[in-house]
Amino acid sequence: MKVMNLVNAINNALDIKLAEDQNVIVYGEDVGKEGGVFRVTEGLQKKYGKERVFDSPLAESAIVGTAVGMAAAGLRPVVEMQFSGFVYPAFNQIISHAARFRNRTRGRYPTPIVIRMPYGGGINALEHHSESMEALFGHIPGVKVVIPSTPHDAKGLLISAIESDDTVIYMEPKRIYRAIKQEVPEEKFSIPLGKAKIIQKGDDLTIVTYGALVREVQKAAVLAKKQGISVEIIDLRTIYPIDRETIRESVRKTGRIMTVAESPRSFSVASEITQIVIEEAFLYLEAPPRRVAGFDTIVPLPKGEHHYMITPEKILYEILNIVNY
């Protein structure tokens, strides 16, 4: 075991996979010499050489597009989008190819690609550096979408993502890149994709969340406890395919559910979870499923960001709303 933050854990997962599989290739803007703007790939070029870990030209569409070609020819590329706000030039390659090659070729050419990207707000960043648009990826048939919330999960999920024969969008909550430290096994281990984790048991209410907001929900749960409310917290871990079973069992027990996420609220993961709950547990509901999400606005620049960010107080407010329904 070794104490790691999220950055260390992701680096460690890449290191392990680069070491054990010659087909794994890591590239993207500034990931080579510099080790990425967040230093996630630091040291890997030195260790594995420029042919396996390298800086690409500045062009997201070709970064993903070349990965599709590499995958077809047997490699397992892990590419980085410098920020999730800059993934859009690659959208066509993701939606038209990475997500579709397997189906188009009836399984002949799978796309074992991982597209890593830091996402989310709360770091006082420039425009386009703070968004949470995971729901867009959730709606694209053919990709999986993974978001870790701890160093431990970041490692185990990334290893699964690299080993998956499907394209995985792997979104990294940059706000907690260095904020959470944890003991993580140094050896290889993996966490299955598509399985949520109950990180706190509770009776009165289920909260589904993921990424950086897991921590905020945990804080809110402490506040709620002082109000005599027992919260069950589910860390979704995988946005698609969603673990309906874990959600179902939890909400059937608690009778109340709320999704907490930072993205714009309309057409969001929260809406989807509400739909799932309605399908799976309508008769168990004691209150309407709520969404605690960002506004349907652009994330404000730093001076206005506090209006947008979801705080433990806001979560508590919503907890009280749902419990007192």
Binding site: I25, E51, S56, P57, A59, S61, A62, V64, G65, T66, A67, V68, G69, M70, A71, A72, A73, G74, L75, P77, P89, N92, Q93, S96, H97, F101, R102, N103, R104, T105, R106, G107, R108, Y109, P110, P141, G142, K144, S164, D165, D166, G194, P241, I242, R244, E245
Partner: protein
């Protein structure tokens, strides 16, 4: 040839004139008469199959189809160069190449009849599927090239695109990456004068398409794509640059889309017959045939006989394709992920429940639905 050539001069490499005379013997490829006859036959086969496919479409037996008519020399010349282990990255208008690579005509029919099965090219080695979103296939070619180089394989990648496709960002990014990575990729722009209805004057102000190579530090060359010999020589030398020197190459193959853009298109809306006639003189089959006839290697009688054989063959294959098995519900779901997510399984089961209900319900209700 590449050493002396600059696309800035806007010259077009040619070996044979419109009447089949060899006007540039230096570049005349070293092919045997048999090989040349074989090439002509392949072009004839592609053309026959293509024209028949269009007529099947007119009969409503196949869906939208993009004809290859007029572009056969590009395909067959390339096919003659492409080696078994080389990779092909298609656009959608290179039938002759797919066939040469080992795809079957039946598969191609299946694809345009609406089966994904048709673009798997199951027994064809190293060929990617047909790619519809314009230019988006070129980054794949660069990526395959990277993998080949990374693995130390002596293989080339042949990627295809149309003239209009050069305007897309992916064209730029793919060629730029190829230049930086120095990957063994031959990019061929089939300049058939049109992107649907759009001509070069509305597509780009560059003097030609080959000069775009300069932006990527790679070699570019413009060749008469209706001249089998010129096309063969250029592709051959491009392959050598790619495989032996990791030099990507951009080939502009000048040709003419004699048919419609697709069977949904009506070219009379945007071009006149005079232009079409002019290009008939440069038709790739007409030219190679003239060459062969002059050399006493071919005759109209042989052609007539062969075409009628081809027609029978194509028709037999088409009928076979028409009798292809059903498209099952599970085929919609099966290939989405390596392991089918539970949710998808449920969606499939739910739909099956509906289908059972439907059978029952409409049997008992005897209701007519005006669909």
């Amino acid at each position: 040839m590449f050493d002396k050539y600059s696309p800035l001069d806007d010259k077009m490499v040619q070996v044979m004139d419109n009447e089949g005379n060899i006007i540039n013997p230096d570049l005349m490829p070293d092919l045997s008469d048999e090989q040349i006859v074989k090439a002509y036959k392949d072009m004839l086969f592609e053309r026959t199959a293509d024209l028949m496919t269009v007529s099947y479409q007119r009969q409503g037996r196949i869906y939208t189809y993009p004809p290859n008519y007029g572009q056969e020399a590009i395909h067959i010349a390339s096919a003659f160069v492409i080696e078994e282990d080389d990779w092909v990255v298609p656009a959608f208008r290179e039938m002759g190449i797919y066939l040469a690579k080992g795809a079957t005509l039946k598969e191609i029919f299946l694809y345009f009849m609406g089966y994904e099965d048709g673009t798997v090219f199951k027994n064809a080695k190293n060929i990617l599927p047909i790619s519809v979103p314009i230019a988006s296939q070129l980054p794949h070619a660069t990526g395959v090239g990277y993998a080949l180089k990374y693995k130390g394989l002596k293989q080339a990648v042949f990627a295809y695109i149309g003239d209009g496709g050069t305007s897309e960002g992916d064209f730029h990014e793919a060629l730029n990456f190829a230049g930086v990575w120095k990957v063994p990729v031959v990019f061929t722009v089939q300049n058939n004068q049109y992107a649907i209805s759009t001509r070069k004057e509305d597509q780009t102000a560059s003097i030609n398409y080959a000069v775009k190579a300069i932006a990527y530090g790679i070699k570019g060359i413009k060749v008469d794509g209706n001249d089998f010999f010129a096309m063969f020589s250029v592709v051959k030398q491009a392959r050598e640059l790619a495989v032996n020197h990791y030099e990507p190459v951009l080939i502009e193959a000048v040709t003419y889309r004699k048919g419609a853009h697709t069977t949904s298109d009506d070219p009379s809306k945007y071009r006149d017959q005079e232009e079409e006639k002019q290009w008939d003189l440069r038709d790739p089959l007409r030219r190679l045939k003239a060459y062969l006839i002059k050399k006493g290697l071919w005759s109209d009688e042989q052609e007539e006989k062969l075409v009628s054989e081809y027609k029978k063959q194509v028709d037999r294959i088409f009928t076979e394709a028409e009798n292809y098995g059903p498209y099952l519900l599970e085929d919609v779901f099966k290939y989405m992920y390596a392991d089918m997510p539970e949710d998808l399984k449920q969606q499939m089961l739910e739909h099956q429940r509906f289908l059972r209900w439907k059978q029952e319900f409409f049997k008992t209700q005897k209701q007519a639905i005006n669909n």
